[in-house]
Protein backbone atom coordinates (compact mmCIF):
# COMPACT_ATOMS: atom_id res chain seq x y z
CA UNK A 1 0.00 0.00 0.00
CA UNK A 2 1.66 3.18 -1.11
CA UNK A 3 0.37 6.36 0.37
CA UNK A 4 1.77 9.62 -0.70
CA UNK A 5 2.70 10.60 2.78
CA UNK A 6 3.10 7.45 4.78
CA UNK A 7 2.46 8.53 8.36
CA UNK A 8 4.71 5.86 9.77
CA UNK A 9 7.68 7.72 8.36
CA UNK A 10 7.10 10.50 10.82
CA UNK A 11 8.02 8.09 13.53
CA UNK A 12 11.62 7.89 12.62
CA UNK A 13 12.39 10.76 10.35
CA UNK A 14 12.76 13.36 13.10
CA UNK A 15 15.22 11.39 15.19
CA UNK A 16 17.15 10.15 12.19
CA UNK A 17 17.37 13.74 11.04
CA UNK A 18 18.67 14.79 14.42
CA UNK A 19 21.20 11.98 14.43
CA UNK A 20 22.29 12.79 10.91
CA UNK A 21 22.66 16.48 11.60
CA UNK A 22 24.50 15.90 14.84
CA UNK A 23 26.84 13.40 13.24
CA UNK A 24 27.53 15.75 10.39
CA UNK A 25 28.10 18.69 12.66
CA UNK A 26 30.40 16.66 14.86
CA UNK A 27 32.29 15.29 11.90
CA UNK A 28 32.71 18.67 10.31
CA UNK A 29 33.78 20.20 13.59
CA UNK A 30 36.27 17.45 14.29
CA UNK A 31 37.72 17.67 10.82
CA UNK A 32 37.90 21.43 11.14
CA UNK A 33 39.69 21.09 14.44
CA UNK A 34 42.13 18.63 12.95
CA UNK A 35 43.07 21.13 10.30
CA UNK A 36 44.05 23.69 12.89
CA UNK A 37 46.58 23.65 15.69
CA UNK A 38 44.32 24.16 18.66
CA UNK A 39 45.93 23.48 21.99
CA UNK A 40 44.42 24.46 25.30
CA UNK A 41 47.86 25.55 26.41
CA UNK A 42 47.68 28.42 23.97
CA UNK A 43 43.93 28.94 23.96
CA UNK A 44 42.54 31.36 21.46
CA UNK A 45 45.64 31.47 19.33
CA UNK A 46 45.01 28.65 16.91
CA UNK A 47 45.67 28.95 13.22
CA UNK A 48 44.83 26.98 10.12
CA UNK A 49 47.56 24.46 9.41
CA UNK A 50 46.03 22.27 6.74
CA UNK A 51 47.23 18.70 6.79
CA UNK A 52 50.20 19.39 9.07
CA UNK A 53 48.66 17.37 11.87
CA UNK A 54 48.24 14.37 9.63
CA UNK A 55 51.78 14.59 8.37
CA UNK A 56 52.87 14.94 11.94
CA UNK A 57 51.14 11.71 12.81
CA UNK A 58 52.95 9.71 10.21
CA UNK A 59 56.23 11.01 11.60
CA UNK A 60 55.15 10.57 15.19
CA UNK A 61 56.79 7.36 16.36
CA UNK A 62 54.74 7.32 19.52
CA UNK A 63 51.56 7.55 17.45
CA UNK A 64 52.68 4.92 14.97
CA UNK A 65 53.63 2.56 17.75
CA UNK A 66 50.23 3.16 19.30
CA UNK A 67 48.63 2.25 15.99
CA UNK A 68 50.70 -0.88 15.81
CA UNK A 69 49.68 -1.88 19.31
CA UNK A 70 46.04 -1.33 18.38
CA UNK A 71 46.40 -3.60 15.39
CA UNK A 72 48.22 -6.25 17.38
CA UNK A 73 45.71 -6.14 20.20
CA UNK A 74 42.74 -6.30 17.86
CA UNK A 75 44.08 -9.21 15.86
CA UNK A 76 45.15 -11.21 18.90
CA UNK A 77 42.09 -10.49 21.01
CA UNK A 78 39.60 -11.19 18.26
CA UNK A 79 41.21 -14.34 16.93
CA UNK A 80 41.90 -15.85 20.34
CA UNK A 81 38.43 -15.03 21.61
CA UNK A 82 36.80 -16.54 18.55
CA UNK A 83 38.92 -19.68 18.43
CA UNK A 84 38.84 -20.30 22.14
CA UNK A 85 35.14 -19.55 22.24
CA UNK A 86 34.43 -21.97 19.41
CA UNK A 87 36.49 -24.69 21.01
CA UNK A 88 34.59 -24.32 24.25
CA UNK A 89 31.25 -24.23 22.48
CA UNK A 90 31.99 -27.49 20.72
CA UNK A 91 33.15 -28.92 23.99
CA UNK A 92 29.88 -27.91 25.64
CA UNK A 93 27.71 -29.06 22.77
CA UNK A 94 26.00 -31.97 24.44
CA UNK A 95 23.33 -32.50 27.02
CA UNK A 96 24.70 -32.34 30.50
CA UNK A 97 23.48 -31.73 33.95
CA UNK A 98 23.32 -28.04 34.86
CA UNK A 99 23.76 -26.86 31.28
CA UNK A 100 21.29 -24.06 31.78
CA UNK A 101 23.09 -22.91 34.87
CA UNK A 102 26.41 -22.89 33.05
CA UNK A 103 24.89 -20.81 30.30
CA UNK A 104 23.65 -18.29 32.84
CA UNK A 105 26.96 -18.15 34.64
CA UNK A 106 28.81 -17.49 31.41
CA UNK A 107 27.12 -14.11 31.42
CA UNK A 108 29.02 -12.95 34.48
CA UNK A 109 32.22 -11.77 32.78
CA UNK A 110 30.19 -9.88 30.19
CA UNK A 111 28.03 -8.13 32.76
CA UNK A 112 30.81 -7.24 35.14
CA UNK A 113 31.72 -3.58 34.95
CA UNK A 114 34.85 -3.35 32.80
CA UNK A 115 36.48 -1.05 35.33
CA UNK A 116 35.94 -3.63 38.03
CA UNK A 117 37.24 -6.34 35.75
CA UNK A 118 40.37 -4.29 35.24
CA UNK A 119 40.82 -3.78 38.93
CA UNK A 120 40.28 -7.44 39.66
CA UNK A 121 42.88 -8.54 37.19
CA UNK A 122 45.16 -5.88 38.52
CA UNK A 123 44.97 -7.58 41.87
CA UNK A 124 45.36 -11.01 40.35
CA UNK A 125 48.46 -9.77 38.59
CA UNK A 126 49.88 -8.09 41.68
CA UNK A 127 53.48 -9.32 41.94
CA UNK A 128 53.40 -9.94 45.65
CA UNK A 129 49.86 -10.81 46.63
CA UNK A 130 48.22 -11.80 43.37
CA UNK A 131 46.81 -15.20 42.44
CA UNK A 132 48.71 -15.31 39.17
CA UNK A 133 52.12 -15.44 40.76
CA UNK A 134 50.83 -17.71 43.50
CA UNK A 135 49.70 -20.25 40.93
CA UNK A 136 53.00 -19.90 39.10
CA UNK A 137 54.95 -20.51 42.26
CA UNK A 138 52.92 -23.62 43.03
CA UNK A 139 53.66 -24.94 39.57
CA UNK A 140 57.33 -24.33 40.06
CA UNK A 141 57.80 -21.23 37.95
CA UNK A 142 59.23 -17.95 39.12
CA UNK A 143 57.11 -14.88 39.67
CA UNK A 144 56.37 -12.56 36.78
CA UNK A 145 56.01 -8.82 36.83
CA UNK A 146 52.73 -8.96 34.98
CA UNK A 147 51.86 -5.31 34.86
CA UNK A 148 55.19 -3.74 35.59
CA UNK A 149 57.25 -5.19 32.79
CA UNK A 150 56.98 -3.49 29.41
CA UNK A 151 57.35 -6.83 27.67
CA UNK A 152 54.54 -8.52 29.55
CA UNK A 153 52.03 -5.81 30.45
CA UNK A 154 50.43 -5.73 27.01
CA UNK A 155 49.70 -9.45 27.19
CA UNK A 156 48.34 -9.16 30.69
CA UNK A 157 45.75 -6.69 29.50
CA UNK A 158 45.07 -9.02 26.60
CA UNK A 159 44.41 -11.86 29.02
CA UNK A 160 41.91 -9.76 30.94
CA UNK A 161 40.12 -8.85 27.71
CA UNK A 162 40.02 -12.46 26.57
CA UNK A 163 38.63 -13.49 29.93
CA UNK A 164 35.85 -10.95 29.71
CA UNK A 165 34.77 -11.49 26.12
CA UNK A 166 35.27 -15.13 25.25
CA UNK A 167 32.00 -15.96 27.03
CA UNK A 168 30.31 -13.61 24.58
CA UNK A 169 31.57 -15.71 21.70
CA UNK A 170 30.48 -18.85 23.54
CA UNK A 171 26.96 -17.64 24.27
CA UNK A 172 26.48 -16.31 20.79
CA UNK A 173 27.65 -19.51 19.17
CA UNK A 174 25.41 -21.48 21.50
CA UNK A 175 22.47 -19.37 20.41
CA UNK A 176 23.34 -19.96 16.79
CA UNK A 177 23.69 -23.68 17.43
CA UNK A 178 20.28 -23.73 19.07
CA UNK A 179 18.62 -22.46 15.96
CA UNK A 180 20.64 -24.60 13.60
CA UNK A 181 18.69 -27.54 12.17
CA UNK A 182 19.66 -30.90 13.61
CA UNK A 183 18.66 -33.00 10.65
CA UNK A 184 21.63 -32.24 8.38
CA UNK A 185 23.92 -33.54 11.10
CA UNK A 186 21.93 -36.74 11.38
CA UNK A 187 22.02 -36.99 7.62
CA UNK A 188 25.80 -36.70 7.71
CA UNK A 189 26.03 -39.45 10.28
CA UNK A 190 23.94 -41.73 8.10
CA UNK A 191 26.05 -40.71 5.11
CA UNK A 192 29.10 -42.16 6.80
CA UNK A 193 30.68 -39.18 8.55
CA UNK A 194 32.48 -39.59 11.84
CA UNK A 195 31.65 -37.10 14.58
CA UNK A 196 34.59 -34.81 13.83
CA UNK A 197 33.62 -34.82 10.17
CA UNK A 198 30.05 -33.95 11.08
CA UNK A 199 31.40 -31.00 13.07
CA UNK A 200 33.83 -29.91 10.38
CA UNK A 201 31.72 -30.33 7.25
CA UNK A 202 28.25 -29.55 8.54
CA UNK A 203 28.12 -27.88 11.92
CA UNK A 204 30.90 -25.29 11.62
CA UNK A 205 29.79 -24.06 8.20
CA UNK A 206 26.34 -23.50 9.64
CA UNK A 207 27.89 -21.33 12.33
CA UNK A 208 29.88 -19.29 9.89
CA UNK A 209 27.55 -16.35 9.81
CA UNK A 210 27.24 -16.04 13.57
CA UNK A 211 30.99 -16.31 14.03
CA UNK A 212 31.58 -13.67 11.39
CA UNK A 213 29.24 -11.29 13.17
CA UNK A 214 30.85 -11.78 16.54
CA UNK A 215 34.33 -11.41 15.06
CA UNK A 216 33.26 -8.15 13.49
CA UNK A 217 31.82 -6.82 16.71
CA UNK A 218 34.80 -7.86 18.79
CA UNK A 219 37.22 -6.38 16.30
CA UNK A 220 35.52 -3.00 16.33
CA UNK A 221 35.28 -3.00 20.10
CA UNK A 222 38.92 -4.04 20.43
CA UNK A 223 40.09 -1.18 18.27
CA UNK A 224 38.27 1.20 20.57
CA UNK A 225 39.19 -0.55 23.82
CA UNK A 226 39.89 1.89 26.59
CA UNK A 227 38.67 0.92 30.04
CA UNK A 228 41.06 -1.94 30.69
CA UNK A 229 44.04 0.03 29.48
CA UNK A 230 43.18 2.93 31.70
CA UNK A 231 42.55 0.96 34.85
CA UNK A 232 45.21 -1.69 34.60
CA UNK A 233 48.20 0.16 33.27
CA UNK A 234 47.33 3.74 32.33
CA UNK A 235 49.00 3.08 29.01
CA UNK A 236 52.26 2.13 30.67
CA UNK A 237 54.72 0.92 31.71
CA UNK A 238 56.81 2.94 29.30
CA UNK A 239 53.90 3.30 26.89
CA UNK A 240 53.91 -0.45 26.27
CA UNK A 241 50.14 -0.62 26.53
CA UNK A 242 49.27 2.64 24.87
CA UNK A 243 46.83 1.99 22.07
CA UNK A 244 45.82 4.61 19.56
CA UNK A 245 42.56 5.35 21.33
CA UNK A 246 44.42 5.84 24.58
CA UNK A 247 46.99 8.03 22.89
CA UNK A 248 44.18 10.21 21.61
CA UNK A 249 42.82 10.48 25.13
CA UNK A 250 46.21 11.42 26.53
CA UNK A 251 46.71 14.05 23.86
CA UNK A 252 43.40 15.67 24.68
CA UNK A 253 43.20 15.44 28.44
CA UNK A 254 46.80 15.40 29.53
CA UNK A 255 48.62 17.38 26.87
CA UNK A 256 45.60 19.47 25.93
CA UNK A 257 46.55 19.25 22.27
CA UNK A 258 43.01 19.21 21.05
CA UNK A 259 43.63 19.44 17.34
CA UNK A 260 46.20 16.72 17.22
CA UNK A 261 44.01 14.54 19.39
CA UNK A 262 41.17 14.96 16.93
CA UNK A 263 43.51 14.09 14.11
CA UNK A 264 44.41 10.87 15.86
CA UNK A 265 40.74 10.13 16.50
CA UNK A 266 39.91 10.65 12.84
CA UNK A 267 42.75 8.44 11.73
CA UNK A 268 41.41 5.82 14.12
CA UNK A 269 37.93 6.15 12.66
CA UNK A 270 39.18 5.82 9.12
CA UNK A 271 41.26 2.84 10.14
CA UNK A 272 38.23 1.22 11.77
CA UNK A 273 36.24 1.74 8.60
CA UNK A 274 38.91 0.08 6.51
CA UNK A 275 39.18 -2.81 8.93
CA UNK A 276 35.41 -3.17 8.84
CA UNK A 277 35.28 -3.20 5.07
CA UNK A 278 38.16 -5.62 4.84
CA UNK A 279 36.61 -8.00 7.36
CA UNK A 280 33.26 -7.70 5.67
CA UNK A 281 34.85 -8.60 2.38
CA UNK A 282 36.62 -11.60 3.85
CA UNK A 283 33.77 -12.90 5.96
CA UNK A 284 30.96 -12.39 3.49
CA UNK A 285 32.75 -13.03 0.23
CA UNK A 286 29.98 -13.53 -2.25
CA UNK A 287 28.79 -10.22 -3.59
CA UNK A 288 25.08 -9.96 -3.10
CA UNK A 289 25.05 -12.58 -0.39
CA UNK A 290 23.06 -11.10 2.41
CA UNK A 291 24.88 -11.72 5.66
Amino acid sequence: MTQRSDPSRLFYQPIVAVLTVTSLVLTVYVVWLSLRDLSLMRAGRDTFVGFDNYIRFFQDSRGLWALWRTVLFTVLATSIEVLLGLAIVLFLDRHFFLKRLVRTLLLVPIIMTPVVVGLTWRFIFDPATGMANYVLSRLGFSAMDWLGSPQVAFYSVLIADIWQWTPFVILLSMAALDSAPQDPMDAARVDGAREWQVTWYVLLPMLRRAIAIVALIRAIDSIKAFDLFYIMTRGGPALSTETLNYYGYVLAFTNFEISYSMTVALILTVFTNFALLAMYGVLFPKSGERP
Binding site: F11, L92, R94, V108, P109, I110, M112, L119, F123, A175
Partner: protein, 270 residues
Protein backbone atom coordinates in the same frame (compact mmCIF):
# COMPACT_ATOMS: atom_id res chain seq x y z
CA UNK B 1 31.84 -43.48 32.10
CA UNK B 2 35.42 -42.27 32.31
CA UNK B 3 34.78 -39.77 29.54
CA UNK B 4 31.93 -38.24 31.45
CA UNK B 5 34.16 -37.83 34.47
CA UNK B 6 36.79 -35.97 32.49
CA UNK B 7 34.11 -33.85 30.91
CA UNK B 8 32.84 -32.71 34.27
CA UNK B 9 36.36 -32.06 35.50
CA UNK B 10 37.09 -29.89 32.47
CA UNK B 11 33.75 -28.18 32.91
CA UNK B 12 34.58 -27.44 36.53
CA UNK B 13 37.92 -25.92 35.55
CA UNK B 14 36.17 -23.78 32.98
CA UNK B 15 33.63 -22.55 35.52
CA UNK B 16 36.33 -21.75 38.02
CA UNK B 17 38.16 -19.70 35.41
CA UNK B 18 34.98 -17.88 34.48
CA UNK B 19 33.80 -17.18 37.98
CA UNK B 20 37.00 -16.75 39.93
CA UNK B 21 37.38 -12.98 39.50
CA UNK B 22 33.82 -12.40 40.67
CA UNK B 23 34.34 -14.73 43.57
CA UNK B 24 37.56 -12.98 44.46
CA UNK B 25 35.98 -9.52 44.43
CA UNK B 26 33.06 -10.55 46.60
CA UNK B 27 35.17 -12.64 48.97
CA UNK B 28 37.76 -9.91 49.46
CA UNK B 29 35.05 -7.41 50.27
CA UNK B 30 34.24 -9.50 53.31
CA UNK B 31 37.85 -9.96 54.39
CA UNK B 32 39.79 -8.22 57.09
CA UNK B 33 42.93 -6.45 55.86
CA UNK B 34 45.19 -9.16 57.19
CA UNK B 35 43.31 -11.80 55.18
CA UNK B 36 43.21 -9.71 52.04
CA UNK B 37 46.94 -9.64 51.61
CA UNK B 38 47.69 -13.02 53.07
CA UNK B 39 50.03 -15.05 50.98
CA UNK B 40 49.30 -17.92 50.37
CA UNK B 41 45.68 -16.91 49.88
CA UNK B 42 43.22 -17.60 52.60
CA UNK B 43 40.14 -19.59 51.59
CA UNK B 44 38.40 -19.81 54.93
CA UNK B 45 38.32 -16.57 56.81
CA UNK B 46 36.44 -14.61 59.34
CA UNK B 47 34.02 -12.38 57.50
CA UNK B 48 33.53 -8.77 58.32
CA UNK B 49 31.23 -6.02 57.20
CA UNK B 50 33.76 -3.28 57.91
CA UNK B 51 34.52 -2.65 54.27
CA UNK B 52 30.88 -2.22 53.42
CA UNK B 53 30.37 0.07 56.38
CA UNK B 54 33.25 2.21 55.24
CA UNK B 55 31.99 2.41 51.68
CA UNK B 56 28.41 3.14 52.61
CA UNK B 57 29.56 5.92 54.88
CA UNK B 58 31.50 7.50 52.08
CA UNK B 59 29.56 10.45 50.74
CA UNK B 60 31.29 10.37 47.41
CA UNK B 61 30.26 6.78 46.88
CA UNK B 62 26.66 7.34 47.87
CA UNK B 63 26.46 10.33 45.59
CA UNK B 64 28.02 8.33 42.77
CA UNK B 65 25.52 5.55 43.29
CA UNK B 66 22.65 8.01 43.07
CA UNK B 67 24.18 9.57 40.00
CA UNK B 68 24.60 6.23 38.27
CA UNK B 69 21.07 5.30 39.12
CA UNK B 70 19.63 8.57 37.93
CA UNK B 71 21.69 8.86 34.78
CA UNK B 72 21.34 5.24 33.68
CA UNK B 73 17.63 5.04 34.10
CA UNK B 74 16.84 8.47 32.66
CA UNK B 75 19.07 8.11 29.66
CA UNK B 76 17.80 4.61 28.97
CA UNK B 77 14.17 5.57 29.22
CA UNK B 78 14.66 8.46 26.86
CA UNK B 79 16.59 6.29 24.45
CA UNK B 80 13.97 3.54 24.51
CA UNK B 81 11.08 5.99 24.17
CA UNK B 82 12.55 7.69 21.14
CA UNK B 83 14.06 4.48 19.88
CA UNK B 84 10.80 2.56 19.92
CA UNK B 85 9.07 5.22 17.89
CA UNK B 86 11.87 5.22 15.37
CA UNK B 87 12.10 1.46 15.27
CA UNK B 88 8.40 1.20 14.64
CA UNK B 89 8.63 3.64 11.79
CA UNK B 90 11.57 1.88 10.21
CA UNK B 91 10.05 -1.59 10.39
CA UNK B 92 7.06 -0.39 8.41
CA UNK B 93 9.17 0.71 5.49
CA UNK B 94 9.97 -1.28 2.43
CA UNK B 95 13.20 -3.23 2.30
CA UNK B 96 15.24 -0.72 0.32
CA UNK B 97 14.51 2.20 2.55
CA UNK B 98 15.04 0.09 5.59
CA UNK B 99 18.49 -1.14 4.63
CA UNK B 100 19.55 2.46 4.15
CA UNK B 101 18.31 3.52 7.56
CA UNK B 102 19.71 0.48 9.29
CA UNK B 103 23.12 0.92 7.73
CA UNK B 104 23.21 4.52 8.83
CA UNK B 105 22.31 3.59 12.37
CA UNK B 106 24.98 0.91 12.46
CA UNK B 107 27.60 3.27 11.09
CA UNK B 108 27.22 5.45 14.16
CA UNK B 109 28.80 2.67 16.14
CA UNK B 110 32.15 2.87 14.43
CA UNK B 111 33.73 6.08 15.58
CA UNK B 112 35.57 6.08 18.89
CA UNK B 113 33.89 7.93 21.72
CA UNK B 114 36.72 10.44 21.69
CA UNK B 115 35.30 12.02 18.57
CA UNK B 116 32.02 12.59 20.32
CA UNK B 117 33.43 13.58 23.66
CA UNK B 118 35.82 16.38 22.78
CA UNK B 119 33.31 18.65 21.05
CA UNK B 120 30.73 17.93 23.71
CA UNK B 121 33.28 18.67 26.40
CA UNK B 122 34.10 21.97 24.76
CA UNK B 123 30.46 22.80 24.44
CA UNK B 124 29.86 21.84 28.05
CA UNK B 125 32.66 24.04 29.27
CA UNK B 126 31.15 27.00 27.43
CA UNK B 127 27.80 26.37 29.03
CA UNK B 128 29.21 25.63 32.45
CA UNK B 129 27.43 22.32 32.25
CA UNK B 130 30.26 20.03 33.24
CA UNK B 131 28.82 19.42 36.64
CA UNK B 132 25.23 19.10 35.56
CA UNK B 133 23.32 15.86 35.37
CA UNK B 134 21.50 16.69 32.20
CA UNK B 135 24.76 16.74 30.30
CA UNK B 136 25.45 13.12 31.13
CA UNK B 137 21.87 12.07 30.64
CA UNK B 138 21.75 13.79 27.28
CA UNK B 139 25.06 12.32 26.18
CA UNK B 140 24.13 8.80 27.18
CA UNK B 141 20.69 9.08 25.67
CA UNK B 142 22.27 10.19 22.42
CA UNK B 143 24.69 7.30 22.46
CA UNK B 144 22.04 4.76 23.39
CA UNK B 145 19.46 5.78 20.83
CA UNK B 146 21.08 4.09 17.82
CA UNK B 147 21.59 0.96 19.88
CA UNK B 148 17.98 0.99 21.06
CA UNK B 149 16.70 1.53 17.55
CA UNK B 150 18.71 -1.32 16.09
CA UNK B 151 17.69 -3.70 18.81
CA UNK B 152 14.02 -2.73 18.88
CA UNK B 153 13.82 -3.16 15.13
CA UNK B 154 14.61 -6.83 15.60
CA UNK B 155 11.92 -7.19 18.24
CA UNK B 156 9.33 -5.40 16.17
CA UNK B 157 10.23 -7.57 13.22
CA UNK B 158 9.07 -10.57 15.19
CA UNK B 159 5.55 -9.19 15.19
CA UNK B 160 3.61 -10.46 12.21
CA UNK B 161 2.78 -7.87 9.61
CA UNK B 162 -0.81 -9.04 9.60
CA UNK B 163 -1.42 -7.46 12.99
CA UNK B 164 -0.83 -4.03 11.57
CA UNK B 165 -2.95 -4.76 8.53
CA UNK B 166 -5.78 -6.06 10.69
CA UNK B 167 -5.62 -2.93 12.84
CA UNK B 168 -5.70 -0.67 9.82
CA UNK B 169 -8.73 -2.50 8.50
CA UNK B 170 -10.27 -2.00 11.92
CA UNK B 171 -9.74 1.72 11.53
CA UNK B 172 -6.76 2.39 13.77
CA UNK B 173 -4.44 5.31 13.14
CA UNK B 174 -0.71 4.87 12.99
CA UNK B 175 0.09 5.96 16.52
CA UNK B 176 -2.70 3.79 17.91
CA UNK B 177 -1.24 0.78 16.13
CA UNK B 178 2.11 1.56 17.65
CA UNK B 179 0.81 2.21 21.12
CA UNK B 180 -1.90 -0.41 21.43
CA UNK B 181 -0.57 -3.24 19.34
CA UNK B 182 3.15 -3.20 18.71
CA UNK B 183 4.31 -2.01 22.10
CA UNK B 184 2.26 -4.54 24.07
CA UNK B 185 3.23 -7.32 21.69
CA UNK B 186 6.91 -6.45 21.99
CA UNK B 187 6.73 -5.76 25.70
CA UNK B 188 9.43 -8.30 26.54
CA UNK B 189 11.72 -6.87 23.90
CA UNK B 190 11.19 -3.31 25.05
CA UNK B 191 11.98 -4.22 28.62
CA UNK B 192 15.02 -6.16 27.51
CA UNK B 193 16.24 -3.20 25.49
CA UNK B 194 15.70 -0.90 28.44
CA UNK B 195 17.66 -3.18 30.73
CA UNK B 196 20.46 -3.55 28.23
CA UNK B 197 20.69 0.23 27.90
CA UNK B 198 20.83 0.55 31.66
CA UNK B 199 23.50 -2.12 31.79
CA UNK B 200 25.60 -0.43 29.19
CA UNK B 201 25.25 3.02 30.72
CA UNK B 202 25.90 1.85 34.25
CA UNK B 203 29.10 0.11 33.21
CA UNK B 204 30.29 2.81 30.87
CA UNK B 205 33.52 4.51 31.78
CA UNK B 206 35.07 6.75 29.15
CA UNK B 207 32.21 9.17 28.65
CA UNK B 208 31.67 9.37 32.39
CA UNK B 209 35.35 9.96 32.96
CA UNK B 210 35.50 12.90 30.61
CA UNK B 211 32.09 14.47 30.95
CA UNK B 212 31.25 14.16 34.61
CA UNK B 213 32.08 16.69 37.25
CA UNK B 214 32.60 16.32 40.95
CA UNK B 215 28.91 16.20 41.66
CA UNK B 216 27.88 14.05 38.76
CA UNK B 217 30.47 11.31 38.90
CA UNK B 218 29.10 7.90 38.20
CA UNK B 219 30.18 4.73 39.93
CA UNK B 220 32.85 3.49 37.52
CA UNK B 221 34.60 6.84 37.80
CA UNK B 222 34.25 7.14 41.55
CA UNK B 223 35.76 3.76 42.10
CA UNK B 224 39.04 5.10 40.79
CA UNK B 225 39.16 7.37 43.81
CA UNK B 226 40.08 4.29 45.79
CA UNK B 227 43.30 4.16 43.81
CA UNK B 228 45.10 6.63 46.01
CA UNK B 229 48.73 7.55 46.01
CA UNK B 230 49.35 5.57 49.13
CA UNK B 231 48.31 2.44 47.43
CA UNK B 232 45.04 0.74 46.78
CA UNK B 233 42.51 0.26 49.55
CA UNK B 234 41.51 -3.17 48.37
CA UNK B 235 38.99 -3.81 51.10
CA UNK B 236 36.90 -0.76 50.42
CA UNK B 237 37.49 -1.09 46.72
CA UNK B 238 36.12 -4.60 46.50
CA UNK B 239 33.18 -3.68 48.68
CA UNK B 240 32.40 -0.79 46.38
CA UNK B 241 32.90 -3.03 43.35
CA UNK B 242 30.50 -5.61 44.74
CA UNK B 243 27.86 -2.97 45.30
CA UNK B 244 28.40 -1.62 41.80
CA UNK B 245 28.03 -4.98 40.17
CA UNK B 246 25.21 -6.38 42.23
CA UNK B 247 22.31 -4.55 40.58
CA UNK B 248 23.72 -5.29 37.16
CA UNK B 249 24.15 -8.97 37.87
CA UNK B 250 20.53 -9.17 38.91
CA UNK B 251 19.37 -7.24 35.86
CA UNK B 252 21.59 -9.31 33.66
CA UNK B 253 20.04 -12.50 34.89
CA UNK B 254 16.63 -11.07 34.08
CA UNK B 255 17.48 -10.53 30.46
CA UNK B 256 19.80 -13.43 29.97
CA UNK B 257 17.64 -14.75 27.19
CA UNK B 258 18.10 -11.56 25.24
CA UNK B 259 21.71 -10.71 25.90
CA UNK B 260 23.04 -12.37 22.78
CA UNK B 261 20.44 -10.69 20.68
CA UNK B 262 21.20 -7.42 22.36
CA UNK B 263 24.91 -7.53 21.90
CA UNK B 264 24.72 -8.47 18.26
CA UNK B 265 21.86 -6.06 17.61
CA UNK B 266 19.68 -8.89 16.61
CA UNK B 267 21.92 -10.35 13.96
CA UNK B 268 21.91 -13.52 15.96
CA UNK B 269 18.75 -14.29 17.83
CA UNK B 270 19.52 -15.46 21.32
Amino acid sequence: MIRRFFFYVALAILMVAVLFPLYWVVATSFKLPRDTFAMPPVWLFEPTLDNFRKVLANQTFIRAFTNSFLVSISASMIAVAIGSLAAYGITQQDAVRRRGQEKFILSLRIAPALVFVIPVYYFAVQLGALNKHWLLIGAYAFINIPFAISLLITFFDDIPRELRDAARVDGAREFAIFWRIYLPAAKGGVVATLILCVLFTWNEFFVALTLSGRNTQTLPVSITSFLTFQGIEWGALTAAATLIMLPMLILGMLVQGQIVRGMTLGSVKG
